[in-house]
Symmetry: C2
Amino acid sequence: MKVVITGAAGFLGSRVADALLKLDSPIPVKKLILVDAILPPKRNDPRVNVVAVDLTSPEAALNLVEPDCDVFFHLAAIVSGHAEADFNLGMAVNFDATRSLLEVARKKVPALKFVFTSSCGVFGGNLPKIVTDMTACHPQTSYGVQKAMCELLIQDYSRKGFLDGRFVRLPTICIRPGAANKAMTSFVSGIVREPLNGQVAICPVDREQKVWISSPSMVVKNIIHAALVPANSLGLWRGINIPGFCVSVDEILTALRKVAGEKVVSLVRFEKDAEIRRMLESLPLNFDNSHALKLGFGVDTDFTDVINSYIRDELKQK
Amino acid sequence: MKVVITGAAGFLGSRVADALLKLDSPIPVKKLILVDAILPPKRNDPRVNVVAVDLTSPEAALNLVEPDCDVFFHLAAIVSGHAEADFNLGMAVNFDATRSLLEVARKKVPALKFVFTSSCGVFGGNLPKIVTDMTACHPQTSYGVQKAMCELLIQDYSRKGFLDGRFVRLPTICIRPGAANKAMTSFVSGIVREPLNGQVAICPVDREQKVWISSPSMVVKNIIHAALVPANSLGLWRGINIPGFCVSVDEILTALRKVAGEKVVSLVRFEKDAEIRRMLESLPLNFDNSHALKLGFGVDTDFTDVINSYIRDELKQK
């Protein structure tokens, strides 16, 4: 199969690529096109092509969506904090570029499996205690609005047979390796990652603040699984709330203490940030995972395990 | 106040204009611009200007949204059946033209009250028995998708202070005067209107099929009321499910029999249409009206009254 990944230089995109290139990949990959605004790292695998492209340029979609393409993972996006600060850029990248890809697929590749990474940031407002598949999207960020608009388009393109789309709403991913970014939830990884590296981390919210999270490895598995779910089992809605679990800042720090000791935990400083708090408080904290689990998506449940896999997969590999 | 109405040559737009020009108008109108693709009928009132414009043309929004505008009622749309048949036209008129209006308002008139008529067609899929404000939008028509995308944009533009938007999800309006149109719910009016005119009407669904409706006069009042609701009472979501009531085809015909007799009712023929039935079955049938009623929106409840006001307001005036 020929597979394209946008956002392939990013944290999730590069890991989806890694997983697809492995021998045990659930999708048999003959050709893998890795796309990002900066050239994704080359790989020692003849199946891989790397492409640098600005998705907002008029010819980008035309060049990327080719008739022989089987699966298209569209992960490229401007993150939440950035989309909030620069509304026009968020609209151009998160919405218009996605629409262009869908339009080209409609004309050239109606059988295309189009997997889109949405976010639990499509939810917001006066949320019920437990979010289900029938909970309304009242996003309180521009990022959430842009993702929700893409979802609606993918839903309609799929219903009309223009392509075979599906979208996964990702929990906050923790622990992300690398540097902090402009996502409002960036600190959730930072308060574990930085102390483990002997650095101070700033927590902009209260200890009691809860977050809905998934580990990177589970999210990568679930994004790939989204391409494999039969269309007819999705029913009348092409979206899946990816399973996650609810954890408080306090529980994160307790797990960190258990794994790495008090000295490491003491590197976390609390400095409140009203805007991050506002955006975060609008996010859902607990979901009913049952629909996604029934469709074969996976879930991790223990934060200590999440820290241990981060140390094993990311810190020890360096 | 200066008020603009798009779709002003249409059934609802012209009635909103009538109501705003009356002495007891809840909005004190100094200038009223009536806009449509065809020139709206001139009125014998010096406050009124009529404009014919194609909303999909690049300069339309720039010309229509002027700095001295106070309230903008955006009613223009391609109806559901038409948007389903011509996806590109639906996207251009229902979505892109709305986005252009919002963009110009953002740049020129951030205090603008922007009232958008959405539809209960934003709902669909596996709906709960009673739809509330927190029910998800899983639209099963392109029309519903386009309206839902506009809602999200208006929500975000309002949250960010780009303008002061609010959108009302309209029930099926019954009884519409005039000719049948391409709306999938057009027959709901047709099975009353045509027999009252001595003509045969086709009902494309079963007698048991239910619909969620409102009378034209109540919907017009509610659209105008949407401009008057204080922004802060809307809270975190700028959308209102306009109150309506649930009635079956059978109940409609029973009321028609009561008002006009068996001979009139016998003019209704049942000829099933699978596509109309599919689209209609995806619509919600019952709502929790409480939030809208609390905000001061009105509701009518008796279908016999609805028929009688149609005869009084529309048939006798001719």
